[in-house]
Amino acid sequence: MPHRTFLAFILPSILAMLLFIATPIVSFAVQSLYIEHDKILVVSETCQPLGGCVKETRVDSEATAKLRHDHPLGKFNGFGIYQDHNHLAFADIGNIFAGNFGFYETVARIYDLPFYRALVFTLTYALTVTPLAMCLGFVIALAVNAVPKLLKGPVIFFSLLPMVVTPLIGSLVVYWMINADGILGAALQHITHNPNLSLKASPTMTWITLICYGVWINAPFSFIVFYSGLQTVPSDTMESAMIDGASRLQRVRFVVLPTLMPLAVFVTLVQLMDNFRVLEPIIGFNAAANATSLSYSIYTALNNQSAQMFSSAAATSVLTITGVIILLTPVLIKTAREFGFRT
């Protein structure tokens, strides 16, 4: 294809990406460098029903509005937000290392910092759910491929169900099922003969629950991609493998897997990105006490009871994007190399 035709072909997508992806990223990257203006506070008398009158501090709205009008972005703060306690917490980490607490205590103290706690769960979730969901999806795809033609339609439909359910609704349904009185929770208590067993109380159990849920809801995507890939496996290669006496397992190992490898790379990319921004299960399972994620930090910064903390949310977003880039780099390098070999 001549370069000009290629350019004309791809230009609309590039424009759309600039407008809807690049511009917002630039916008919040800039926002993360600013914090709110110093508030001008005045003391005033507040009278409420039942509570009586008290002297309380209040923001002088006119003076603050003028400041905001003159400098709408806020007060320049450089990378201050990135370094504060709620983000990378350099000062806290410095103190922890200066304290010489020994390995276990040092790790525990770093884990107590909100950003690192969120990061650990996010990474654990992305790095376990992605491979597990892909394996499960692949196994389902192989199984469905072997089902007689007549049954294929309904089986595919049921295998896709978890993907049809909105993640938040799915997690709410499972949340009530694993409740101590729910069908799964009660069954587990019965099986283990432990009436106090709770899937929601301990961090380990919560993490396992969230990861199982993640695998359940993500497997259908891998399944449908791999299933369509299976239809492209060349039948003559398959037949010659059979004639050579390859077992079913050997055929999967030496014929199917190499054919599906490019698809697997694609699914890994998409799923890693998807799982790195895990949010809905944490909300649906009310699991914030035991597991928080980077997206959850952004959510709480924007969704608290009074002011929305845009700078905080912007900084966490930039850090999340950095995380995604770091995570995807190995896969991207691999793809780029393969592409280079082929041309």
């Binding site: 110093d38 508030k39 039942l50 923001v59 006119e62 306690h85 107590d112 608290n304 009871q305």
Partner: protein, 412 residues
């Protein structure tokens, strides 16, 4: 064809006539746009305000739990997206800080004949909001279970703990207690309640500097943790609504929950017969030998946007006065603890009224309280599940608050 046209015209005339009949609010013209939270009492008020709609008065409403996130941007635009913002102690603060709501004194003088003096929320002598209902967390308990174990009605959290121990030892109920300890907003509200009960101050006088890292703060945490020992192991996932479901199902003997959920707790349609027959509502308990109930007082009310025409403001105020007219309270006595004139509190309002009468403190209206609430909501989870000591939890909350307050421009 002709027939249908006629029928349509007739229908139109009838509907016009019927809305005209409803519009006895005395509003000449204007546009009323209501933004509010989404619970029963507010739905009743908004529906009543909507009755004022007529050919010249257009009334719309948006009732959503996301109202706190919508209100500031919506009222900042000029003209404002909404003319009425239904608010509470906490959600009125950003509107005040932004200078987005107007003083209501002239409207009160003109149209507010049904208002009681204690409904007016005054800032520096100017009425900025009109309250119509009060709310607080208070005791819901099962008299039959307490009688079975021979326990007197609890008055303090020490009584509650003793009662829980007896109930468990005598095998009356497996998990006697319940509280809305869900990590997040609920957990922070529990801390605020208990800390007020200990007589604590959240901030140093007229400054945004945090003052909770003290003996009272630690006592608050210790009591909260002691209570969890008698709760279902899933307590950290229970918000107020989940808690009320367990209470309705008869799984809790003593719970501390919102007055606005009291009606639902004993609703015969969802609650078991034992719960309906034997539930007693009482004021929030005291704690640590103090006399102040360990519960913050809340009010719900409405404000009128600044960036709208005076005509719309007057129309909005009049429609809302119709929405909180005395007969609304008498017709819906169970929906809320109304502050409306002529309301006689019913059995489900006793808890809030006792809490208020015993001198409970209102939820602080200072502009940085929201930041503290957020810091508490994430910082206390580890402590309440028993995996962190109180000193570390307090230090964590303090560090998170300081960072947020710096970002918000409250601390240097």
């Amino acid at each position: 064809m002709k027939f249908t046209l006629k029928a349509l015209l007739l229908l139109g005339a009838v509907s016009l006539a019927s809305t005209a009949a409803l519009a006895d609010c005395g509003i000449a013209s204007g546009s009323v746009r209501i933004l509010s939270n989404d619970f029963e009492a507010l739905k009743i008020v908004a529906a009543a305000a909507e009755e004022c709609a007529s050919a010249t008065v257009k009334i719309t409403k948006n009732q959503t739990a996301e109202h706190k996130n919508l209100q500031v941007p919506a009222l900042t635009s000029n003209p404002a997206e909404y003319t009425v913002a239904m608010v509470a102690n906490n959600s009125v603060v950003p509107l005040l800080s932004g200078g987005l709501i107007r003083p209501l004194d002239d409207l009160v003088a003109k149209y507010g004949k049904d208002l009681e003096p204690n409904q007016l929320i005054k800032i520096d002598g100017k009425t900025m909001a009109i309250a119509f209902m009060a709310n607080s967390q208070h005791l819901f308990y099962r008299k039959d279970l307490l009688d079975k174990a021979g326990i007197a009605p609890p008055k303090s959290y020490e009584d509650v703990l003793a009662a829980a121990k007896t109930l468990q030892e005598k095998g009356v109920i497996k998990y006697p207690l319940g509280a809305a300890d869900k990590a997040g907003w609920d957990l922070a509200a529990e801390f605020v309640n208990m800390y007020l009960g200990y007589g604590g101050e959240f901030f140093e006088p007229s400054s945004a500097k945090l003052a909770i890292n003290n003996e009272k703060g630690k006592a608050t945490l210790a009591t909260m943790l002691a209570l969890t020992k008698f709760m279902s192991p899933d307590y950290l996932t229970y918000g107020a609504d989940e808690l009320n479901k367990d209470y309705q199902g008869g799984k809790i003997a003593i719970s501390n929950n919102w007055g606005s959920l009291a009606g639902a707790a004993v609703d015969a349609k969802v609650a078991t017969a034992d719960v309906v027959a034997n539930t007693v509502f009482a004021g929030a308990p005291t704690v640590g030998g103090g006399t102040t109930p360990a519960a913050a007082l809340w009010w719900d009310g409405f404000s009128i946007a600044k960036n709208i025409s005076d005509e719309d403001a007057a129309a909005s105020f009049q429609a809302m006065m119709h929405g909180i007219a005395p007969d609304i309270a008498t017709k819906n006595p169970k929906a809320a603890t109304w502050l409306i004139k002529g309301y006689t509190p019913g059995p489900t309002a006793v808890g809030v009224i006792q809490t208020a009468a015993a001198g409970a403190k209102p939820y602080p209206m200072v502009p940085y309280m929201g930041l503290l609430h957020t810091a508490l909501s994430t910082g206390l989870a580890d402590y309440i599940k028993g995996s962190q000591d109180a000193d570390k939890a307090m230090a964590g909350v303090e560090a998170a608050y300081n960072a947020a307050a710096k970002e918000g421009g409250f601390l240097k």
